[in-house]
Amino acid sequence: MGWGDPKVTGVLPIALNEATKVIQVLLTSGKEYVCVMRLHSEVPEERIKKVLEEFQGLIYQRPPVRASVKRRLRVRKIYYIDLLEVDGRNVLFKVGCEAGTYIRKLTHDIGEVLGCGAHMQELRRTRAGPFTEDEDSITLHELYYYYSKWTETGDESLIRKFILPMERALTLIPKIYIRDSAVDAICHGAHLTAPGVTSLETKIKPKTLVAIMTQKGEAVALAKATATTEQIIKMKHGIIAKTERVLMPRGTYPKKWKTKKRAGVS
């Protein structure tokens, strides 16, 4: 496995055409892996369990030599590590972690703490943000089959089940729903103001990444909130979220804002 780990399998969300704009959300979202760690000598199960628990929470990690980021000590969040099975020197565990955590490095560090050394034997990603190994997960071969079914027979029911709307990528980030009349202004890059909001989700704080949605549930844009949920509810005017990335094409909804009449134009 000279180059990276092409043998790694599992959840890999792929965005098509316009949906590539939501990829930034997935890149920064948490991941979950199932990993086989190979110890370099046998260690009692209780000890492995104890050491794995120590790695939960905030950890320091220096990216590996061959990494695509600067090799500076970084802090990463490990949400959980669950020991699943120990078979001799092989340890199977599940880890939920922040984006940018190197699992190969994590297993190495676990080996150092155990004192015997360890390396990563096998890895499978079981979650990337909101996407998991559930019924809408698809293999390359199935995709090819369903697509040709559709083009040959015109029956779109199979392919429809597996091409998910881009809104699925936004499941985990808080949402603000807006009036139809505010949609096109946001599409043109305007910031969201309080009167345009119809409903919103709890736990929004200033600077959190939010998704601006229509009442039909379509994604309009990604934005940074400038107030908390409680404040937004009380606000009558003023900007509540600064638009960062527009997702919906202009003109999907009608333009409803007033423009000043310029001199000389009747």
Binding site: A67, G129, L140, Y144, M166, L172, T198, E201
Partner: protein, 96 residues
């Protein structure tokens, strides 16, 4: 050490600020989009096979679905700072 909640364990509720109807003339509910629109704004939850890199898999999807653009949400081989040679042992064409 105290356990940090994973993003997928956080529960949020919806609060209403104002009531308003939406006009069915514009836009589509995501699940009711026509198939061509769906592909334009679509995302696939792919189960990546062992062997090819995330990048190669993405370019195959582009060929299979005949879409102009595609991108993956986080590579599965993050330690890969270097490219890999095309004259490898694996086929680089889409599976047929």
């Amino acid at each position: 050490m105290q356990r940090i909640k994973a993003p997928w364990e956080i529960k949020r509720e919806l609060v209403i600020k104002a009531e308003e109807e939406t006009d069915p003339k514009y836009g589509y509910k995501p699940e009711e989009r026509p198939i061509n629109e769906l592909i334009k704004f679509g995302i696939i939850n792919l189960d990546k096979p062992p062997g090819p890199s995330s990048h190669e898999v993405t370019s195959w999807i582009k060929k299979i679905l005949k879409v102009g653009h595609a991108g993956h949400g986080g590579t599965l081989e993050p330690s890969n700072g270097l490219g890999r040679s095309q004259s490898d042992w694996r086929p680089t064409d889409s599976p047929k």
